[in-house]
Amino acid sequence: MLAVNVFLWLVVAALGLMTAMRGTDLFRGSLRASTIEFLQQLPRIALGVVGSGFIADAMPQDLIVPWIGPQSGMLGVAIATLGGACTSGGPVVGFSIAAAALKAGGGAPQVIAYVTAWSLFSIQRLIGWEIPLMPPRVVLLRAAVSVPLPFLAAATAMLISKP
């Protein structure tokens, strides 16, 4: 964990230096905007992290395990994929639900299918960013070719079992 922090802050320092060399005003403005974004994200993250622990504990395990448990097979993967595609919200929402499902007895390949599907299809990201910034035809094609990907990821995960 410490190594990750050191790495990330070294990257921050290097990029910050490069930005500062382009101009101090640019550096200050960027620093300000990034800090504001961080502060805006704080309540959501606090809620996601604290909430996911309670959700995992309160989740009815006798419901999670048969639906997306390790024995649920490809049907469980399909259910998880559908759930992931229907989850809207930022990284906190998706990862906290996935972590809660894993803690409550969900199978690892099924959780991977969930995370992958959510990463690929999150409606909020599609509407908020991708459609405004990309040609709609490309967005449509990307979504279409992405349909098999969560299943492939889960199938690979079943083959290469978790270390």
């Binding site: 992290v49 909430g51 929402v93 908020g128 405004p132 990907l149």
Partner: protein, 182 residues
Amino acid sequence: MPPKSRRKPFDWSTAVILTISAVSGLTVYLREGSEQFFSIFRSDLLLFGNMLPKMLAGCLIGGFVTLLLPRELVARWVGAESGLLGLLIATATAAVLPGGPFTIYPVAGAFLGVGADAGTAIAFITSWMVLGYNRALVWELPFFGGDFVIWRIVVCLPLPFLAGMLGRAAIRAFTLRMESPS
């Protein structure tokens, strides 16, 4: 550029999570007692504390990269004639490119604008979505731990490449037209 003011600290999806969390917390408290409730609460707070420095770093990296990224250069590497190497470069670039949607989509759009094919753009976006290290380090790692994250990334490694190939195959098979409108 998209309006940044869209990102309010609280929105309806947050409200949903808040409601579910509150109901779950209450359930835990009533069913398992205050000791279990506070034990979960403490470990979650610890997790949150661990995330803070990484999150701040992630936000700063995203901000700096948006300013620094030589978009024209990246686009040159993955032009329309780039073939399989282009897909590979697009996948690798997006995986190591820090920042959020505000860096990724403008770059993907720039690819198309300078003549990269839609397959390359698809590989690029998919790679950011499933392999992006920034999201994995900042968001995923604290929730899941290193073993799980590394395993998931290994499993997902071929996906962007595959999506790009499928995209190209679909364009050829149905003779789709994918020009950028700009």
